[in-house]
Amino acid sequence: MEWLNIILQGVLVGGLYAMFATGLALIFGVMRLVNIAHGDLIVLASYVALVATQTLNVNPLVSLIVVVPLMAAFGYALQRLVLNRTLGPDLLPPLLVTFGLSVIIQNGLLELFTADSRKLQAGAIETNSIHLFGGLAVGTLPLIQFAVAVAVIAGLQALFYRTAFGRAFRATSDDPEVARLVGIDNRHVFGLAMALSLAVVAIAGVFLAVRANFDPSIGPARLIFGFEAVIMGGLGSMWGMLAGGIILGVAQAIGAQIDPGWQLLAGHIVFLIVLAIRPEGLFPKVQG
């Protein structure tokens, strides 16, 4: 029963990792942009939520109403004004520019908020838990976090595969030149994809900030978790992100149970095993 509990906790954390991964996969899928600043943008969202909760005096989960549109608007502007200029046949320029962005965000946050650890207080739901059968209990907050992750992924999956909007995203992803020929303005589609990505980042950032302490330096580690979940999941389906996130979350939980020092290592080892056995991921993308 103890192990079942550990696995359950790992699954719930996996929801958060899935949200890290979703934003990353979305922009890589649509515009072949590897966003090195993704983790720092998650932390940026945490700080935006910190300011929002303090100035508006609301619960962090309520602050999402402000943080999500703010981050989405920032994403659209970032793509149109900066990142669109770096896109081309070469993958290196966007990589370098987002790496620079990562440095700027980390140091900007350090300047504004110092290196002190912060945490958002969400009140009673942080400590409440729901008792399941046989002494198994899950915290209310991790459960909400997982439910939100599933809802975000289901929403994006429906958006991508059921709507005209999603069709335009997939077409642009397949062949940007021919997408222009059917009247799609790539620059705008890329802007919308980044807006969508940072909207998910905003949600992830708020949950990250409620779940544990954060400071300006923790972004890159979130980026790694996101990357690992994306690669394990594959780019063929949004559900792959959830699968990848859960595998990573469970591996870390089991590793931590064996030895607290093994938490991250176990995650990386399982990632390497999946990469070796199934390099295309669990839900590979259809190739043209």
């Binding site: 005209a164 069709r167 335009a168 077409a171 030149e177 059917v182 799609i184 303005d185 259809v286």
Partner: protein, 232 residues
């Protein structure tokens, strides 16, 4: 009056010049063929008209509006659609989704999903199939249908016979009169001269980026065409 007039355009890929002062006119409802050997600049000419390449010199006017250098997504909005060389369907979209995305601008006109399925009945049977699972000929039908869905005034067809069996090519060409019958003008780029001459009223022959010959398809002799085609 010319619907499209291309006047003296120069086009480049980086430092490599692909077109040298190419001029071409298309009247409303006309079918024009552009023939030439590999690398003569036929595809470059179509890409310049469609907005994928910005010509460095010369003008392109469509319904008296300058469209040279305009972005491709804005050109298609004005009624020019390109069937790209090699079909280039969207692999992660189904057959029907490929057609629907062609119509996503909502330009009014005779073409819609039902009309495309009437033109190419086999596509209606395969509409839910992944686009890559179709035969080459069927994929070409989807590519043409996708372009028609934008209800173009001018349809640009880049080597629609490429890699297809002769019987399939004849089948596809047999349906083009249904397209031009709607008043749509066509520019057909072909390496298959016989096919091009049969389908078009006027012909332009490109050779190494220049117009080597142009005229009524019926009046051009085989000798004149082969001289312009091969440059001998």
């Amino acid at each position: 009056m010319a619907e499209l007039s291309v006047t003296g355009i120069d086009a480049f890929y980086g430092d490599f010049q692909a077109l040298f002062g190419v001029s071409l006119n298309v009247a409303a409802g006309e079918v024009v063929a552009v023939i030439g050997a590999n690398g003569a600049g036929k595809s470059t000419l179509l890409k310049s008209i469609a907005g994928l390449i910005a010509p460095r010199a010369g003008t392109i006017a469509f319904h008296n509006e300058a469209i040279g250098g305009m972005a491709a997504h804005a050109v298609v909005r004005r009624g020019i659609a390109l069937v790209p060389e090699g079909r280039r369907l969207f692999p992660s979209l189904s057959v029907e989704e490929n057609l629907l995305i062609g119509g996503q601008l909502g330009r009014p006109g005779p073409w819609n999903l039902a009309r495309v399925y009437t033109l190419f009945p086999v596509l209606a049977e395969r509409k839910a199939a992944p686009s890559q699972s179709l035969s080459g000929g069927q994929q070409q039908m989807v590519a043409i249908g996708r372009a028609l869905m934008s209800n173009p005034l001018l349809l640009l067809c880049d080597e629609i016979s490429l890699g297809l069996a002769p019987i399939v090519v004849r089948d596809i060409y047999a349906r083009l009169p249904m397209v031009s019958g709607e008043g749509t003008s066509l520019i057909i780029v072909e390496q298959d001269i016989v096919q091009a001459l049969a389908a078009a009223r006027r012909v332009y022959c490109l050779q190494e980026g220049r117009v080597a010959l142009s005229g009524e398809a019926a009046t051009l002799t085989r000798e004149a065409i082969s001289a312009a085609y091969f440059g001998v």
